[in-house]
Symmetry: C2
């Protein structure tokens, strides 16, 4: 038996860990992206945004007299999953990275959608508003990745057919 | 150096493997979902849809004189990732399952968006249309999962607070 407040704290800790993984994922993508420099500004912007999101989640935890340090099992499992995903994406293929990013941004958006409902249940309106704000940023980033897909695919095929190094 | 046609075949094979994972994921969810019977009809419908999608992908491969059997490395990596995700989600938590499903349906939608662009590049209009059709089904399913999140979260918190078995 757990109180809604306990669950909210626990899920905010998951979100904190998730943002840590998001930072790692974006740093890896920025390092590897050689042939698609046009994507860099948006990726760098989202990296900054993600660092701020992690701080915002920390502030939500502080409002509840909690801190992000006590990672619970599900957060560790989540981290392992994301590491698995990072590992699977460690092939050089830029397209697979884009698909993975799209899934990950949507995972984040859904997490904050659920967190928003949880914060409202507990009566923590300010936390709910923060979660909504982060949710919209994740949705915007997901939408941007989606819009890149057709052009990125065509570009990849063109480069691969010309024998150029397309994968990064 | 690969031709766009080679890449298209290779990605359709990935999609075939992905649908296999989708079937497994949905079967697991349907088995485990005890406390949320209202979700079962939609999940069962999508399981049927997913089986049909796998057949449609097989038909696309047949159009290109290829078959799904020769799994290449990236499909195997993908399968390993999804198994990792399934494993990480094997805690009983229905909410984490829903978040994972949402990410996965979006991953599938993005894969077919990219495949559609690839098929158009190769001039395979009929394959492009099939990919678009599957893409829309994945988007519809993702949207449905999204719409369940707030209510599912509230219901989970209510059950957890009453000491009931909320997790499934």
């Amino acid at each position: 038996m757990t109180t809604p407040r306990d669950d909210l704290i626990s899920w905010l800790r998951d979100a904190y860990a998730m943002e840590g993984q998001a930072i790692e994922l974006l740093e890896t993508q920025i390092q590897r992206l050689e042939n698609y420099p046009e994507a860099l500004p948006r990726l760098r912007q989202h990296l900054e945004e993600t660092r701020e999101q992690q701080q915002m989640v920390e502030q939500c935890l502080a409002r509840l007299d909690a801190d992000p340090s006590a990672l619970k099992e599900s957060a560790m499992k989540f981290t392992a999953t994301m590491q698995g995903m990072l590992h699977a994406l460690s092939s050089d293929e830029v397209l697979k990275h884009a698909l993975g990013s799209y899934a990950f941004e949507n995972f984040e958006a859904a997490s904050y959608c659920s967190l928003m409902a949880a914060a409202e249940t507990v009566g923590e309106t300010e936390i709910a508003r923060t979660c909504e704000q982060i949710m919209r940023q994740e949705q915007d980033m997901a939408q941007w990745v989606w819009e890149q897909l057709p052009h990125m695919t065509e570009e990849y095929l063109r480069r691969a057919a010309s024998g150029a190094e397309a994968k990064r």
